[in-house]
Every structure is written in C-alpha cells, then in structure tokens.
Symmetry: C2
Subunit: 211 residues, 2 copies
C-alpha cells in the first residue's frame, strides 16, 4: 500500500492505523498548497480533487475518503482488530466514522481552517460544533474508546481533535474528551505517527516561511 | 423499523431505500424547526443532535448518520441487492457514501441552506462545489449508476442533488449528472418516495406560512 498524505491532515489517521497493524506501507508526501508529491509528480493527475488521504491499494487502484480507507485498512489487516467483526459493531463503527467526517471534520473544522471562510462562518461553526463536542463528551463518559475497544474510528477522531490546538476550542471544557484524546495519543502506534507527522509539519512550515 | 424523517431532507434516501426493498417500516415526521414529532414528542430527547434520518432498529436501539443507516438497510434486506456483496464493491460503496456526505452534503449544500451562513460562505461553497460536480460528471459519463448497479449510494446522491432546484446550481451544466438524476427519479420506488415527500414538504411550507 502507498499512502498519499499531508502532515497533520486527516491522513494521519490512516498512518496511525497502518502502524497499529504493523502494515508494510510507503508514505508519499503531498504538498497541500502546490499539490506536488515529494517525487515532483502532479497529485491532481492522480486525484483530481487533490484530497488526502489517497491510498494506492495492492491492485494498483486508488481509494479516497477516510471512512472507506480506514475500513479497508482494518479489513486488510484483521489480526490487528481495528474494526468490530460483528454486524452490530460494524454498523456502529460506520455511524461514528460518518459522524466524525460530517459533523466534526466538515461542519466544525473545515470552516475554521478555510482562509476564504468569513468570520461569521467560523463563529457559527464554533457555536454549532460545541453541541457536537457535548455529544462526544457524553458518549466518552466512562468509556475508554468510541466502541468496546480501540478501532479506526478512534484514530480518525483523535486526528480531528488534534486540530483543536490551533483553534479557539479548548478541550478542557469537555474533560472526558480531553482524557480520551490523551489516552489514544499515548498508544505507541498513534504516538509514533503523531510525532513523525508533527516533525514533517514543522519542516513544511519552515520551508514555506523561508520561501 | 421506524424512520424519523423530515420531508425532502436527506432522510428521503432512506425512505427510497426502504421502498426499493419492500421493507415493512413506519415513518415518523419530525418538524425540523420545532424538533417535535408528529406525535408531539420532543425529538431532541431521542436524538440530542436533532438530526434526521434517525432509524429505530428492530432491537429498539437508534441509529444515526446516513452512511450507516443506508448500509444497515441494505444489509437487512439482502434480496433487494442495494449494496455490493463483494469486499471490493463494499469499499467503493463506502467511498461514494463518504464523498456524498462530506464533499456534497456538508461542504456544498449545508452552507447554501444555512440561513446563518454569510453570503461569502455561500459563494465559496458554490465555487468549490462545482469541482465536485465535475468529478461526479466524469464518473457518471457512460455509467448508469455510481457502482455497477443501483445501490443505496444512488438513493443518497439523488436526494442530495434534488436540492440543487432551490440553489443557483444548474445541473444542465453537467449533462451526465442531470441524466443520472432523471434515471434514478424514474425508478418506481424512488419516484414514490419523492412524490410523497414533496407533498409533505409543500404541506409543511403551507402550515408555516399560515402560522
């Protein structure tokens, strides 16, 4: 497998899942501004929408969208048990992956990170987003993970919640969520993925600053 | 099964899927403004986020999020073949469900329908959204449906694209998409679901106008 990623973006969830599974994979950097890969290729020719994560599968085809990529990684490495195997559990995994992708990633964080978004769109996203964090806090009260054990949904959720650091959102308002994020970040695979991408992210920022 | 719905919202996709499957289900109207059900119940007590579709499963529990609800309906009624059964097909179904939910529903349409969204947020969503429609047009060129045959992803996509009628988006700019929407709307189950919800939607608008 080959993962096209941009550091600290939502593709970090896939990297963490691959590390959790001890998977053999290569990681190809995509500059999110120029849409060039580290090999100088035009990423838009691979994925016209220019979105990461994009995963090159064993058969050479490309897969996009976090929810499908994470479920594919879980299915490809069943020994790592990164997804429930019973029908009820699969349904609940899909429910959380969709909630994270739509209500948090797209509705809350996308307007906050979008330089073209007007201030009013940001404050509205923050206001609505706090009800989503209330919902998460209630789910995580007394629970270790979103489902009965660690799953790819936790890799995705923690990756999205990492972004609060550069927003006005203070997770301390939701102690069960803060404790959860700390718990997932303490997992060796997640910690390694996060540390590596943080370093790449800082190098990217330094490169842009000096350009 | 009991589907909590609001007419012409994204819950229409679930209704259409249930009709495609000849499923036995009840449909409970939720007023999207007051969050009251047709029985006078407070919907926020059932689903604190107040979102439809919400599906009451056979075991009495509630399921939220379109992507998971649609996959659950497909799995519950396998004879209707509303989802691929092979692993590769399942992955592609999940990819499209996620694309529709994140890139179209949340990123393109949500700002257009949000009365609190400023004008700049809307024009930005329209501009970015047109690249998503280009992507769809290219996928649907020479294809009948998103996957090899009709699936719940088509029910969801068509439901979302129905909303273009009340936006500045003119699907005629993307002929393969327009032809696709016409094709799905011509299916008896989808046509029935759409006609019923349009009538309920018009009645809702008339009630609000006279209130």
């Amino acid at each position: 497998m080959e993962l096209y990623f941009s550091p600290m973006s939502c593709s970090l969830a896939t990297r963490a899942a691959l590390y959790e599974a001890n998977a053999h994979a290569t990681f190809t950097y995509v500059d999110s501004q120029t849409k060039r890969t580290e090999h100088g290729d035009d990423f838009l020719k691979l994925n016209p929408l220019g979105l990461v994560p994009t995963l090159r599968l064993d058969d050479g085809s490309l897969l996009t969208e976090n929810a499908s990529i994470l479920q594919h990684v879980a299915a490809r490495y069943p020994a790592a048990a990164l997804a429930p195997s019973d029908a009820r559990g699969v349904t609940r995994l899909q429910e959380w992956l969709s909630f994270i992708g739509t209500e948090l990633h797209k509705a809350l964080f996308a307007p906050l990170f979008d330089a073209a978004a007007p201030e009013a769109a940001r404050s509205y996203a923050l206001e609505k987003g706090s009800t989503r964090l209330d919902h998460l806090a209630s789910r995580l009260q007394g629970r270790e993970f979103l489902l009965d054990r660690f799953s790819v949904a936790d890799a995705y959720l923690t990756t999205v919640l990492n972004w609060t650091r550069v927003t006005p959102i203070d997770l301390k308002r939701w102690p069960s969520v803060q404790a959860y994020v700390d718990r997932v970040r303490a997992r060796p695979a997640y910690a390694r993925a996060l540390a590596e991408e943080l370093e790449l992210y800082r190098a990217e920022l330094a490169r842009r600053k000096s350009a």
